[in-house]
């Protein structure tokens, strides 16, 4: 079977690369993904997916129907990108999609349009090989991952797939893993520390103390937070207020409430040195308007998540990859560049869907200037993803002798 997949992939390779390139040439900043969505939808139809649809949030979903009642596998990648930090840092533009020395360049090449292209074509490869599936293979290109803390993913599972009668048993994310099998990462929360006082001078001192205290990277400190920008001040009803934004890492077992409590005690301790100041700490919230016009309220928390490395998902993924002749390298994201993390926390923690990541990009490339992904890895990722998907939801082809008997 792996021979068959390799052969068919050879035939699909140029189509795959044009699609990846076209994705990179299409602007898709978070909450402005509609052009990219149209592109994905067109490709899904061209690959003859059984069902193709774009939902209210703007997520694009393609389904290959299984012939039995499960299990279902979700291949998901977000199609949005962050805004380029500094466009001048790019030779040409961040949307050139140029290929040089075997690499494909462009905003979101590694995070995670390369992975998206690979996932779309992995399913296409299975379809093209006429390999029947037990359960449904769902490919989703989601919106608002980068800015929206996986709003797109949450809506996808909670509404769209539910309405389609689909509940994934497993999920694979196309986020950058450099073809490693990643099974989780730590979490993060953005917190607002609000200080209030009727004495503006006390308040100014308190804000300084708290901000400096948070900036202090003493590893022994009870809180490990990073300051996000300078304190913001305002006057309201005769009170002077300050808001200090901090970002805090969340370990695998750590609850947000506990962390908020610790943060409040620490902020109180610091603020008290300046005089009588009221302290309030909460998770930052804001409203997001999606490309589709829908408005959603968002809490700025990414929970840590982890899939049991010995779970059926990981062991079956490892076994299929190994049998397909791919490198098997389990690991976890370090989140040095990934910003808020991946939608794995939503899938794993909120919807209890075992999730792993397998993508062609390297984590260090995410959000970097002149971001790139190796062409060969996109191809390998397509093949590896198809092999895993077949292992997880395909009808086994065991026992059939390689060629004519």
């Amino acid at each position: 079977m792996y021979d068959l997949l390799k052969g068919k992939l050879e035939g699909l390779q140029s189509e795959l690369m044009s699609f990846a390139q076209a994705l990179l040439r299409t602007h898709s900043l978070s909450r402005d993904e509609s052009s990219a969505a149209a592109l994905v939808e067109k490709q899904l139809r061209a690959l003859d997916f059984d069902t193709v649809t774009t939902d209210k949030l703007g997520n694009v979903v393609g389904v290959l129907h299984g012939v039995e009642d499960g299990p279902n596998l979700l291949l998901a990648s977000h199609m949005d990108t962050v805004a380029p930090a500094d466009e001048s840092g790019w030779p040409g533009t961040p949307w050139s999609g140029r290929v040089e020395n075997g690499k494909l360049y462009g905003l979101g090449a590694a995070d995670c349009k390369g992975g998206l292209a690979a996932q779309v074509f992995a399913a296409g490869l299975l379809k093209r090989s006429l390999l029947p599936l037990r359960g449904n293979l769902i490919v989703a290109a989601t919106v608002a991952e980068e800015n929206g803390i996986s709003i797109g993913m949450r809506g996808l599972i909670e509404f769209t797939l539910k309405e389609m009668g689909l509940r994934p048993e497993y999920a694979i994310l196309g986020e950058p893993t450099d073809l490693g099998l990643y099974y989780g990462h730590d979490g993060r929360a953005e917190l607002d520390i609000r200080l209030r006082s009727n004495n503006p001078f006390h308040l100014a001192d308190a804000a300084d103390l708290v901000a400096n205290g948070m900036g202090d990277t003493d590893p022994l400190s009870a809180v490990q937070a990073m300051l996000m920008g300078k304190p913001q001040f305002e006057d309201r009803h005769g009170l002077r207020c300050a808001t200090i934004g901090v970002e805090h890492r969340l370990g695998p077992e750590e609850a947000v409430d506990g962390m908020v409590g610790r943060m409040r005690r620490e902020a109180e301790r610091l603020a008290q040195l300046a005089g009588a100041v009221e302290v309030e700490v909460s998770v930052r919230e804001h409203s997001e308007t999606l490309a589709s016009g829908m408005v959603m309220k968002v809490k700025r928390v990414t929970h840590a998540w982890s899939t049991d490395p010995f779970s059926p998902l990981l062991s079956r993924a490892r076994q299929s990859l190994a049998a397909a002749g791919c490198v098997v390298r389990p690991g976890k994201w370090r989140l040095s560049r990934l910003g808020m993390g991946t939608s794995g926390s939503v899938l794993s923690n909120e919807f209890h869907i075992p999730t792993i990541g397998y993508g062609p990009g390297r984590e260090e490339e995410a959000h970097s200037q002149d971001e790139s992904v190796e062409v060969a890895k996109i191809v390998e990722c397509t093949y590896g993803t198809a092999a895993m998907a077949h292992g997880l939801v395909g009808i086994p082809v065991f026992g059939w002798i390689p060629d004519e008997i």
Binding site: R134, P312, G399
Partner: protein, 408 residues
Amino acid sequence: MRIIVFNCGSSSLKYRLIEMPGENQLAGGEAERVGPKTAEPARIHHQVSGRKETIVVEMPDHATAFAEVMKLLERDPELVPEAIGHRMAHGGPNFKQHVILDDAVMAELERIQELAPIHNPPAVRLVAACRRLYPKLPETVVFDTVFHATIPEVARSYALPAALVAKFGFRKYGFHGTSHQYVAQEAAKLLGVPFAHFNAVSCHLGSGGASLCAIVNGRSIDNTMGYSPLQGLVMSTRSGDLDPAVALTLLVRAAGNGAAVEAMLNRGSGVLGLSGMSADIRDVVARAADGQAADIDQLTVASQVYLWRIRKYLGAYLTLVGRAHCVIFTDTIGEKVPYVRWAVTAGLQCFGLDIDPQKNDVAGGLPADLSTPASRVRILAVATNEEMAIARFSHDLLSHTQAERIAL
């Protein structure tokens, strides 16, 4: 010499006290519900020359059960055992003879436990307990696999790469050896053929496991079971032969849970799986004979598949053996179900089998010859007696102290 023979189940301990070489059974019984407490109390059904008694006593493990049984026997100085014989399901690749227990044997027994993870470990623990509690009493270990140690390499090899076989030891072992050998010896005696020149196909059709054995010159040359007891005939709850690709497909469908697939193939398949009503072929045959049963088609297929597999292997082994003296039926189904014996041999005159339906139906006292005078190959029903076989082996070993033993 009084030998106590132990047959250790996962939660039971059967024993027989046998006077050798006279082969008189002096006492016997079974300890039930050995192990963690269950709804009913643990007890020993003990029997001495026809007198039965039941003793309720806590037996948290096989060692305690053993000690309690010894207490019962020690009430009478005439019943104190002078040696212990153990039954062991799996002897691994190195035990090619039954053995007298010593340190090296004990170490090897512990090393190979995992080859038969359900059957060996409790027996090995019992052996150790006997040694600890009665260090002076000689102990022997009799293996189900030893009779099959003579299966030639060509018959025990799977067509797998050599390096893999060397690493994991995949090969046919064969099981039920003690029973096959015992009934073959009894049959040879009955027919007046020296065992060293005795050829036969032995059908051990138990209410649990079942296997056929091809015997040439008194040696096993093939057995339908394989690396594990799963291969071969359709059994009460085991599938027997199955396309390996199907086993792997089931594994994928169980999301890689090998234990679940093994449980299904070992405990939920065979006669039980096919019939959906009973693991006992007698129930299935009886119900299929009642034309009114709603599930008659399913039951008919179940009994046909069961019988057909036996018949095919019978033909295979008769061809292999060449000039067989007899076909032997034994163990629960083989001894007690005339229909099965008839259905698997009828119409096989070409192999020299001519079963006499009348003799077959009325065969009461075993052993019995069930074939017509014209039958070139005799068809016999012989009662198996594994405990007696173990007592014989043990006595042989202990009375020939310099008996040849293959070094481990």
